[in-house]
Symmetry: C2
Subunit: 170 residues, 2 copies
């Protein structure tokens, strides 16, 4: 997958900053902050705990019925929304303090991981262009899915959606 992901990303005719954000194997929040030089904020659209159904359990490698935090947010740099992100996080794999941060407040995931000094890797799963989606009012979307892996287990499954337009000419 990694090789495919890279080749696909390189082939897209999109602004460089968008390609970089969608391709990074580091923190997206951090990248947005140094790219735009504006404070990056998170606005939570929804956040609740669900019991994993069969599909979700397979995705995350947990038992069916395990508790999973399902969070959807938008990331802003200043007043501009740049990313729509949904994360699925098995609660049983999180230290209590991390659970609290994730469920309580508008803290970006990159900052949560960083504040816990976690060693992780990010495994890319999928990259695709979506047309006619309502996420950004019909603007074409670059969508990527990846997993944040810690101690060889999936700590978080993340889908990020980036609008493909001029806002990335930074």
């Amino acid at each position: 997958m990694e090789g495919d992901f890279l080749e696909k990303l390189k082939s897209l005719e999109i602004p460089t900053c968008l390609r970089v954000c969608c391709g990074t194997d580091g923190s997206v929040t951090f990248l947005l902050e140094i790219m735009t030089r504006k404070p990056v904020s998170v606005k939570t659209e929804s956040q609740y705990v669900v019991k994993a159904d069969k599909e979700m359990a397979e995705l995350l490698g947990v038992e069916e019925g395990s508790e999973v935090n399902d969070r959807t947010v938008r990331l802003y740099a200043g007043d501009t929304v740049l990313v729509h992100a949904r994360s699925l996080s098995p609660l049983e794999r999180m230290p209590q303090t991390m659970r609290d941060q994730l469920m309580r407040a508008d803290i970006p995931i990159g900052r949560i991981l960083r504040s816990h000094n976690l060693e992780t890797r990010r495994d890319m799963v999928e990259l695709e262009i979506l047309e006619g989606e309502p996420t950004f009012d019909g603007i074409p979307i670059l969508s990527r899915t990846y997993k944040i892996v810690h101690h060889n287990h999936v700590l978080m499954w993340i889908n990020e959606r980036f609008p493909i337009d001029e806002r990335w000419k930074l």
Copy 2:
């Protein structure tokens, strides 16, 4: 340090792509590849094994006299050199296959880590602008130092130097 690092980086009047490369907490090689859409190659300037002196031992958290791989390379995107990087890696902390890759061939460190599926974090140490250095024939340099941490030990200490000029207008 992380907060200082970020604020300092945001304050610099430099091309966005340079700021992003110098600020990422992910793989620089990977970032250069998606940024330039060109194949990234490594040219090794020097590579040898040394015994850690007192200063190096403190930097890496190893015993004095431990074997350390000292490697200096330049990273190219196509024909353009973009980064000068020196790495210090305690050999005792590396799996044998990683040692072989590091010592044998012109393989970027990001790719070596990735191929071993290692979970790591990157801790920023220093960011500074250097003038009148010979690294890029006197062109001002943005220099950053960080540590790649694995199992709470320093796996690699890295200093990267980026020329501050027009080559980053990507």
